[in-house]
């Protein structure tokens, strides 16, 4: 297995059972994402992109096939082992931000470190560094309700990155944002990519997908296209 690969999916299938009926959601996905890549996964609803995202995000296990994340085989781990993998190797950014409502920004960002057993002092220091990186150091003690949508998503991104994950997973990161704010968030993600982060983004929005360097399209549980984006052609702003 090539250790430089962030993600290596081989012949991944996922079948849901509803009673006696078997519904195939993924039918033999092969996908390799190298470190530092910026990939968008696209597809209409029912194409299996959410299922694929859940498997890549270690929230779900494939029915068959193998999955290596950051060089580690995670295809057959139990719930707690998967939780540990998510904690150490993955960062999630959700469409709805999913911040803890009653908790200020810095403690939201520090949450993964709490589950990792990092000391209070170090949690605060690292969370503040991360907030500074997303440009919100001055909002550290604001609650999510006191922040704009864009700011909340920045806090969420800081939270996703605070444990220095191998892969950043973004599920419709701009789905709840207006065009202007979306552009800001996409610029931030771009900047993270430039800094060497591996980023996988699920979206149905062509304009957003165009920010990625590579676009993988799904249909009926299979990859139908996998193309690199020529960024010289993409007009920005």
């Amino acid at each position: 297995m090539n250790n430089s690969r962030a993600i290596d999916l081989a012949q991944i299938t996922k079948t849901y059972k509803t009673g006696s009926l078997e519904v195939p959601a993924l039918q033999g996905i092969d996908l390799v994402v190298e470190r530092g890549e910026y990939v968008a996964i696209m597809g209409p609803s029912g194409s299996g992109k959410s299922t694929l995202m859940n498997i890549i995000g270690c929230l779900d296990r494939p029915t068959s096939g193998s999955y290596h994340l950051d060089g580690e085989d995670v295809s057959h781990l139990d719930d707690n082992a998967l939780a540990t993998i998510r904690l150490r190797k993955l960062g999630f950014v959700f469409q709805g931000f999913n911040l803890l409502a009653r908790t200020d920004a810095i403690n939201n960002v520090a949450l993964p470190l709490f589950y990792a057993g990092v000391s209070t002092r170090e949690r605060r220091a690292r969370a503040l560094t991360m907030l500074t990186e997303v440009g919100l150091a001055d909002r550290a003690h604001h609650k999510p309700s006191e922040l704009s949508g864009g700011q909340q998503q920045r806090v969420a991104i800081a939270r996703a990155l605070v444990n220095d994950p191998a892969v950043l997973l973004a599920d419709e990161p701009t789905g709840n944002l207006d065009t202007k704010t979306s552009a800001d968030i996409m610029a931030l993600i771009d900047q993270l990519h430039a800094g060497g982060r591996t980023i996988i983004m699920v979206t149905h929005d062509e304009n957003i997908a165009r920010n990625a360097r590579r676009v993988v399209r799904l249909l009926d549980g299979a990859i139908v296209s996998d193309e690199a984006m020529d960024h010289q052609k993409v007009a920005k702003g």
Binding site: N54, G57, L59, D60, D79, N80, A83, T84, I85, R86, L87, R88, L90, F92, F94, G96, N98, L100, A101, R102, T103, L111, P112, F114, Y115, A116, T120, R159, N163
Partner: protein, 399 residues
């Protein structure tokens, strides 16, 4: 601890809900603790009363509801015989009393003359003078020790009455001492009489013929009082040549305290049952609100799991929230219970008896912690487990 901070934030954010949820617990613990405080002080005041009763002696008297009452009467001579023949008995004195008008100067009161010995019947300290001495008894002296009540009536101006003479009927007694005011306790019982005279003097003046009503025995070994009582009753029956159909009764401190303890144990069981019922009701309330809270926070739980929280960590979070919720209710209940119990105690019992029991803080704390622990374990575990078992994908999708 972040778990505590988070749980606290949740409970504070939902103040009204937290309060309503814990009201059952507050009332339950309040009831149990306040009754505990009252029971404690009642028990204390009763044992205080009984403290005046010497624990190395017992009284023997014929059962009053029987036809052969006359046959049952003991003779003075029996007492010496019993001391000689029953091994554990160290002394025996006749007990008797007579209501008399007692006079000192112009002050008169109707008091009970009472035969006493050395050591005296009631275990009370002296206010003035001394107890009856062996010499008083040996010589059947006309000496008396007054109770505090008699002293107050006969000597309203106070002062040490030692050496003064009081008259009972036509008979003159010299006051040698005054007993201190007894702590009454809840039982308004005084042991002994108001005007204690040597039993020898009592026998000379009041016992006509040989018959005595009752007798007080002192024992050497206090651990076998019940056996000794039985032996004495047997001996009396032999001496009187009567059968088991003639009843005698005994009265000793241990038996009496045992009876009182029985009453308090019954009260404790009833209070315990009330507590158990309120515990279940309150616990169901806690469980209900925890389930509601978890339902509301399904997405939050999903997010936490996606971030990497393990099952045990989610479990711990909600478990601590339940623990905090029930501890809050229990400790508020405890505070109110101690307050109310103490208040009722000081208004009624202390005023009535003059006896102040220290509040049972340790017991209250144990009851409270037990309550909180049981509610948390029995009713907090399931919701916490349910939260921990949520599927992260389902939970994240939850609207």
């Amino acid at each position: 601890m972040m778990y505590f901070e988070e749980a606290l934030r949740v409970l504070v954010a939902n103040k009204m809900r937290t309060f309503l949820t814990t009201i059952g617990l507050i009332i339950g613990v309040f009831a149990v603790i306040s009754i505990e405080v009252l029971g404690h002080s009642m028990a204390g005041s009763i044992s205080e009363t009984l403290g005046a009763l010497a624990d190395n002696s017992f009284i023997l008297f014929p059962g009053s509801f029987q036809g052969d009452f006359a046959r049952a009467a003991m003779r003075l001579s029996d007492l010496d015989n019993i001391v000689a023949t029953v091994p554990n008995i160290s002394s025996a004195v006749p007990i008797g009393g007579a209501q008399e008008l007692v006079r000192y100067g112009h002050n008169v009161g109707r008091f009970r003359l009472f035969s006493d010995a050395n050591p005296p019947f009631a275990n009370l300290p002296l206010a003035y003078g001394r107890y009856l001495s062996d010499d008083d008894i040996a010589s059947a002296a006309d000496a008396t020790v007054l109770s505090w009540a008699a002293y107050q009536r006969l000597f309203p101006d106070g002062g040490d009455p030692s050496g003064e003479s009081v008259y009972a009927g036509t008979h003159r007694y010299v006051v040698v001492g005054v007993l201190a005011k007894p702590r009454q306790g809840l039982l308004n019982a005084t042991f002994g009489g108001d005007v204690s005279i040597p039993y020898t003097t009592y026998v000379r003046e009041f016992v006509h013929g040989d018959r005595i009503f009752a007798a007080r025995f002192t024992v050497r070994d206090t651990s076998i009082i019940p056996e000794t009582e039985a032996a004495v009753i047997n001996r009396v029956r032999q001496l009187r040549n009567i059968g088991k159909d003639v009843q005698y009764k005994t009265f000793d401190k241990a038996a009496f305290t045992g009876g009182i303890d029985g009453v308090f144990n019954a009260v404790t069981i009833v209070v315990g049952l009330i507590g158990a019922v309120s515990l279940v009701v309150a616990g169901i309330g806690v469980m209900n609100i925890m389930l509601v809270s978890i339902n509301e926070r399904t997405r939050e739980i999903g997010t936490r799991k996606a971030i990497g929280a393990r099952k045990g960590q989610i479990l711990m979070q909600f478990f601590i929230e339940a623990a905090l919720l029930s501890s809050f209710g229990c400790f508020v209940g405890m505070a109110l219970g101690l307050l109310a119990g103490g208040l009722i105690n000081s208004i009624f019992i202390v005023k009535l008896t003059g006896y102040t029991a220290p509040p049972p803080y340790a017991q209250a704390l144990i009851i409270t912690l037990t309550f909180a622990a049981i509610v948390t374990l029995a009713f907090g575990s399931y919701p916490a487990y349910r939260a921990a078992s949520l599927d992260p994908i389902e939970a994240l999708r939850y609207e």
